[in-house]
Amino acid sequence: MTIAAELLDPASPAYDEERPTIAFGTARDYFELLKPRVMQLVIFTALVGMLASPEPINPILGFASLLAIAVGAGASGCLNMWYDASIDAMMARTSTRPIPAGAVKPNEALAFGMTLSFGSVLFLGLIANWQSAAFLAFTIFFYVVIYTMWLKHWTAQNIVIGGAAGAFPPMIGYMAVTGDVSLESFLYFLLILVWTPPHFWALALVKSNEYARAGVPMLPVVAGPDATRLQILIYSLALIPVGMAPALISHAGWIYLTVATAFGVVLAYFAYDLYRKREGDEGRKAAFRLFGTSIIYLFALFGARLVEQLLPFIPWSLMK
């Protein structure tokens, strides 16, 4: 038990009912509330969305817009942790998060998340445009209210629909520069949307007992592991053409196309492997392998597109 949890736990000898509790979290605890790993992905995909714009980007305003989008995403993660603290406490994977660990009190997390939500939306509106700010506000609302408070506890399709919140950043990035959306930014949205189910369900397969105990109707809990494996395979196969689409019907180039095709086939193979290996340790390993590969897949595709976007800015003439 952490020192913070000891001071807050009535069963602990360190607990004193008369003693007013003060904030105990460190800066790191507050940073953890923002789900930094998710923020990394948001920064990466929003940057690709921004650079897909045909218009020139002021680097300072571009950086600040990216920061606002990342903080908005972090704020929604913080509000998610605030609302789901009791569920997080029941699951091994999430029980060390700042709220269940006792480092940050729920009300502090709520205030922190709300402040950052309003601040990031206002900042993006002032430095970029109000269309993208409204889109960021909608994304936060979608993730916190539609996904966290409603879908997650109601349907096994929670992450299929809720995945949209994580898929919006490339469109917000593009909109921050142009005030509009484009086919390419929409295709990146579609890519993340189709990628989300196999990514999450691979993990949910391994953690289905914890989700069941917490009362979260994830697909493996509701439909069983075999049906989940089939769904994972279907989505992974669909991901091959969806991943290639930005190159086939939009502006992405051959580097992106090569990476999207190769990694799409590899991901589908691991999904098939998971479909075949249903029992024991082998099945568990196959699920973890697919989960890890899915993360590499998304970073590889957006990384390839980022390389293509940055190539024109390299001063080749200076290297001769």
Partner: protein
């Protein structure tokens, strides 16, 4: 004017964490000031010089 303090005696760990939190908040606010200044200049662009002297 000084009255009785309602704050509890802080433990060493609580003091250390509060100081660390305050320092982090200070750095964050400082970075925010610099960010707002730089963004304002970037937004003004060339217009910053386009005014009657």
């Amino acid at each position: 004017m000084s009255g009785p303090s309602h704050l509890p005696e802080l433990t060493e760990e609580e003091l250390r964490r509060r100081n660390a939190r305050s320092r982090a908040l200070g750095w964050f606010l400082g970075a925010l000031v610099i960010l707002f200044f730089v963004v304002t200049i970037a937004k003004l662009g060339g217009n910053v010089l386009n005014r009657p002297i």
